[in-house]
Symmetry: C2
Subunit: 214 residues, 2 copies
């Protein structure tokens, strides 16, 4: 779609772009028209030349003494990051975290369209109060025909994480968003992103504890 | 508490430890008694010598030709990571993601004890169906006296992220777990962890799109 998308961005750049977007969206809501990289730099503590470099990946250039047009920059970032078009997703494992993600309507503002949930426990499958159908895992192949998805959000117990990812990929899923603490392996060509909630908790706990003993 | 906690672990080690824990918990559930670093290495695609080095931070040593005792290693990892003792937390911002995290009972298995939620919208504050009290943000100071917490989970809109963090820290919060796309700044000594859900989504989308055009 976007010819810029065949450039594989460095991950640090990709991590900073959503910060810029969050910041320029705030400016836009305040009806600010232009923003300099110096101003973004001060707000986010990112080097101004790094900001200019990151934004040049998007083909966005600031004008001398004026800076970036806030409205245009907002759209460019949102489009580039993929937030302005819907990406279909399944939630695999509809326990407490899976249900929570299905219920988090905010994700749809960032282009995530959860169309179905899968589980193996009949008590969960029979409940349909989450706004999307919850099906048995072995229906994933058929569901791919009727309501396809590209992304599988993995929120199963760790002991079935690898197996569940394998099934989802076998059914045609192209990207795994792994929320389990298990280190899932995928074949080359399958997109993999780990959101390590537990690692972040461990980081907070150990830092808090070390602060206490100091 | 634990004298090992005054060692500040390198972040990559801290990221790998929850993988080891998830894996040895699976082995424990299968009643496996011992595991070698070679076996962990094969399962997780982490170099065996790296595993031995990481685990030595915990004071855990494997025995020649036998390896690590699964039960002891599980406890050592869980204790070290802080998952086996409760850490009190507030959720600041009880919109869809905040509510979802409050409802995610699974976090309590990892030592996170959410004791209150805070918001500024009266329609949300009057609802108490989440199992914990939802209070007005300006009650955070009083709540700190009656039901103190160390951690603030930040799930507010990005435009009030910095201000909300400042208030929480002013009230005595020691760690911010930032789920907003805004880059929140904190004073030295305050623990900060970012869970960049939106950056991970952007990573998935851009990788998917680049795969399509190739």
């Amino acid at each position: 779609m976007n010819p810029l998308h065949n450039i594989i961005l460095p991950e640090p750049t990709l991590r900073r772009l959503p910060w810029y977007l969050a910041y320029v969206e705030i400016l836009r809501n305040k009806r600010v028209k232009y923003v300099s990289s110096t101003r973004i730099s001060r707000a986010l503590s990112v080097d101004a030349s790094q900001i200019a470099k990151d934004l040049s990946f998007l083909g966005v250039k600031g004008r001398t003494r004026i800076g970036y047009e806030v409205e245009a920059l907002t759209h460019a970032l949102s489009d580039f990051l993929g937030f302005s078009r819907a990406h279909k997703a399944y939630v695999i494992g509809t326990g407490s975290l899976g249900k929570a993600l299905i219920r988090d309507s905010g994700l749809s503002n960032y282009g995530l369209d959860i169309v179905a949930g899968f589980d193996i426990r009949p008590d969960i499958i029979s409940r349909e109060d989450l706004g999307v159908p919850i099906k048995h895992m072995n229906e994933i192949y058929d569901t791919m025909q009727t309501t396809p998805a590209e992304i599988a959000i993995l929120t199963v117990p760790p002991e079935v994480a690898q197996e569940s990812a394998d099934i989802a990929i076998g059914a045609g899923i192209k990207a795994i968003w792994n929320f389990t603490p298990y280190r899932v392996k995928v074949a080359e060509g399958v997109v993999m992103a780990n959101t390590s909630i537990y690692a972040h908790l461990a980081l907070i706990y150990t830092r808090l504890d070390s602060a206490e003993v100091q």
